[in-house]
Subunit: 167 residues, 2 copies
């Protein structure tokens, strides 16, 4: 049985995780409040994106229950390939349980081991205050503000933040 | 005969323009000083990128000589799809002749017609002072600074700028 107190294990995603990953990323994509992805994406399109060849994808599990997933990839090519980018999503049922924080910590380690020198979030929706607070606590700085760059389904055009930290 | 004073005509790129486009983008990619693209890209890889399905690509010609090329695309999907992104390259022989400025002006018109609400440059290399000055003159603001986000072949790790303007 999975319990709230099971320790979190973060491992590479496997093909068999697809349904569990969709159960996490699907609701976030459909809500359209935090990621610049089409709300109408199909399950296959979403999985193709989240598990694309240009990134490594991980899952965070407690016991046998997958509570979160993240990817890490180079943010740019060529002269920009030493900066990585990540996307993290946690199950709604796991909000407040430290899953995103644990995944971010894992990704920072992974990034250093992979030789990246910095991590960049290109579009943190400014109304996603929980995320902004968390990333700041993880050492990221707001290095840019993009006026009205995100259309929030309820709040309309809101600013997006560029967040960055060296490794 | 093409003369320096020929008026610049900007039109959609056609398949027959591939060689001329490569003659412009190839040296810029090989130099690796201004674009975050792999310096070792093949001609085909570069053209596949520059003419990809997710963007519209234009050429600027004086008489029958192509002096510059640019693309316009959505910078993000979903809630971010109202912000566009462009990349511009001019022939080395045309530097200082206003080709980049003309292409930028054309792209701003194109962006408005296509319904975009803003234009964003994600990674303007800070040492590319001519470009920074030009984009500022075209109404872009520096909204972010990414510390050491670009590895310049001669100057090492230099800052990159995020530039943005509403339309």
């Amino acid at each position: 049985m999975t319990t709230v107190s099971s320790p979190l294990n973060i491992r590479k995603a496997a093909p068999a995780d697809a349904a569990a990953i969709w159960s996490i990323i699907g609701p976030t994509i459909r809500a359209g409040e935090t990621y610049a992805l089409p709300r109408e994406m199909t399950e296959q399109q979403a999985l193709d994106y989240w598990l694309a060849d240009d990134r490594e994808t991980f899952v965070a599990e407690a016991g046998r229950e997958i509570l979160g997933t993240y990817y890490i990839r180079a943010n740019q090519q060529g002269g920009g390939r030493h900066v990585c980018n990540c996307g993290y999503m946690a199950a709604a049922s796991a909000i407040g349980r430290g899953v995103a924080r644990a995944m971010c910590g894992h990704s920072l380690d992974r990034a250093r081991k992979a030789g990246f020198r910095a991590m960049q979030f290109n579009l943190v929706v400014s109304t996603n205050e929980r995320a902004v607070r968390l990333w700041r606590g993880m050492g990221f700085e707001i290095v840019g503000r993009l006026p009205g760059a995100f259309q929030h389904p309820a709040r309309g055009f809101v600013d997006a933040l560029v967040m960055y930290r060296t490794l």
